[in-house]
């Protein structure tokens, strides 16, 4: 779950390589590249997954509930469940836990994106700022979540949602690195061209540096979201009275594997939907770029 910083750096560098080669010739009828066609391959992938799941369930037996049992569980307990109340969970089935964790992730990522982009862009603009923040990010960004989580619970558990702060913290680190690299990877020719056209440094930042960095920043947002579902759930496992992690802990205590799998599946679906939304937003905002459907 811990996003490795070196891997992030490598990925942004790769993105820069792609950007440098740039679009050569694009068809004039490119139309609306942010609209996606439905591919038959993902459907095939889903079917293969369900097939393997049945196979595993048949081989393992009791401790690997088959797909239809999990789907039935989801349908039965999604918005209301007496059974959950019996376990001491709040009324309302899976929904309140899913909403709680989703809110943690969305708010945490939003906070982290804002803060991380701010520090990243400031670092790109002023060397001194980078020199100050770089060791901080390098040190705290590499602390594993399982080590960091107890501290966050102790520090913030009483005053706010420790899970929220944790997600915001890791997102800040990711976005700091991504936005800094995004600006550094921008071809300096663009800034020079803008200067020879008489643009002020403020205008250059707003109309050249920022839009030029947006595609890579979106890459960071995607990575941050992907990591945050796990971060939030793990943080809830370690200490929370609500959310997906807490629910999993409760089901575990009564060996209810079907419910654990159900809630993980439901959270995964929400994560997938969120990723799709971000992908669409990115494709629309960076519709000027050729690889918009990436």
């Amino acid at each position: 779950m811990q996003p490795s910083i070196s891997r992030l750096r490598a990925r942004t560098a790769e993105a820069a390589g792609n950007a440098a080669t740039g679009p050569a010739i694009a068809p004039l009828s490119a139309g609306r590249p942010w609209r996606q066609r439905l591919d038959p391959m993902p459907v095939l992938g889903v079917m293969a997954t369900i097939g393997l799941w049945y196979l595993a369930s048949w081989l393992i037996g009791r401790y690997m509930p088959p797909p239809h049992e999990v789907f039935a569980n989801a349908a039965r307990n999604l918005v209301a469940s007496d059974y959950f109340v019996g376990l001491g969970l709040p009324e309302g089935g899976y929904l309140p836990h899913l909403l709680y964790t989703s809110m943690t992730v969305v708010l945490g990522v939003a906070m982290g994106v804002g803060l991380g982009c701010l520090t990243g862009l400031l670092s790109a603009r002023w060397r001194v700022f980078d020199q100050i923040t770089d060791p901080i990010v390098a040190t705290f960004g590499t602390v594993p979540i399982l080590v960091a989580a107890p501290f966050f619970l102790i520090w913030f558990g009483l005053v706010a949602s420790a899970q929220l702060i944790l997600v915001a913290f890791y997102t800040t680190v990711i976005m700091h690195i991504y936005s800094l690299q995004a600006v550094r990877n921008l071809d300096p020719k663009y800034v020079e061209f803008a200067r020879t056209l008489g643009a002020s440094s403020g205008a250059i930042f707003l109309r050249v540096v920022l839009p030029g960095a947006v595609p890579e920043i979106f890459g960071g947002v995607r990575v941050a979201f992907a990591a945050s579902w796990g971060l939030a759930a793990i943080a809830e496992l370690l200490g929370s009275r609500y959310g997906v992690g807490y629910a999993i802990l409760t089901f575990e205590s009564v060996y209810d594997l079907a419910s654990i799998m159900t809630i993980i599946l439901l959270l995964g679906l929400i994560a997938l939907a969120m990723d799709w939304l971000i992908g669409r937003a990115r494709a629309w905002i960076t519709r000027w770029a050729e690889s918009a459907a990436a």
Partner: protein, 271 residues
């Protein structure tokens, strides 16, 4: 002191870089020259011999180690909207539509939206891109993107335009049509143009005057008195051929021409 008067005046310009190895590289050495208003100057020379450094120095993008550049008597201290620049690679912002690109410089000058649009549309018409006003740059061909860049710098109103091999990466036919376009724009606006190229033919088609830069020095300064348009017939005249020979000589290519590539070092090494 010189440096007064109109046009560009370069006085004893030196530009020394520290190479990564610690070796000092003199990219420009004691360059002194004047470029009057409205002249079309081409700079030729081998790659890595200081052409781009000189152009960037004129643009105020490279600080000089010694010496000065004056424009209309005022020393150049940095980039300004008075000196537009077209770079070798794409100088089109891919995240702006074609019209927004052309309007970029005008917007920086604080012009009203209506005025900006009027000027941008006018320049896009002059570079024959009226149908692509709302297109994204990626939807255009390489040659069309150069037209956008030309429209942008001409619309910006800079009296001096500095171009660093702007058509270098284009195919022959596209390049010829852009030459014609650029000459039209130049004739109709009277801007001063300094144009770096590695292509002798291109220099002969475009220039009033050809400067040859080798090892950081201006080693020759050739006025081109050939009549325009400089079609193949004009370029085949004895005085044009003589000029090509002179340039080849300065570039160290005369031996290659005379002895049938025998002494071309790259080829000799390969044998």
């Amino acid at each position: 002191m010189s440096g007064h008067g109109k046009g560009i005046v370069v006085r004893d310009a030196w530009c020394v870089f520290e190479h990564v190895s610690g070796r000092k590289v003199e990219a420009l050495r004691e360059v002194t020259l004047e470029i009057p208003v409205g002249q079309f100057v081409c700079i030729v020379g081998r790659s890595g011999h200081g052409k781009s450094t000189f152009l960037r120095a004129l643009g105020g993008l490279n600080p000089l180690t010694r010496g000065e550049v004056f424009v209309d008597g005022v020393p150049v201290a940095g980039p300004s909207a008075e000196r537009g620049m077209v770079f070798q690679d794409e100088t089109v912002f891919p995240w702006m539509r074609v019209r927004a690109n052309v309007e970029f410089g005008l917007r920086a000058q604080g012009m009203s939206a209506a005025e900006r649009a009027r000027i941008a549309l006018d320049w896009l018409r002059r570079v024959e891109l009226s149908e692509f006003v709302e297109a994204w740059p990626r939807e255009l061909s390489g040659g069309m993107r150069r037209r956008v860049a030309l429209a942008t710098v001409f619309a910006g109103g800079a009296p001096i335009l500095l171009m660093d091999e702007p058509f270098g990466a284009l195919d022959y036919v596209t390049r010829l049509s852009l030459h014609r376009l650029l000459l039209d724009l130049w004739r109709n606006t009277g801007r001063t143009i300094v144009f770096v190229t590695h292509d002798i033919e291109e220099a002969l088609i475009l220039a009033d005057r050809i400067l040859i830069i080798m090892a950081g020095r201006v080693v020759d300064d050739l006025p081109v008195a050939l009549p325009r348009p400089r079609d193949e017939e004009v370029r085949a005249r004895p005085e044009a051929v003589g000029m090509i020979k002179t340039i080849m000589h300065h570039l160290g290519l005369d031996a290659l021409a005379a002895e049938g590539f025998e002494r071309a070092p790259e080829l000799a090494a390969r044998r």
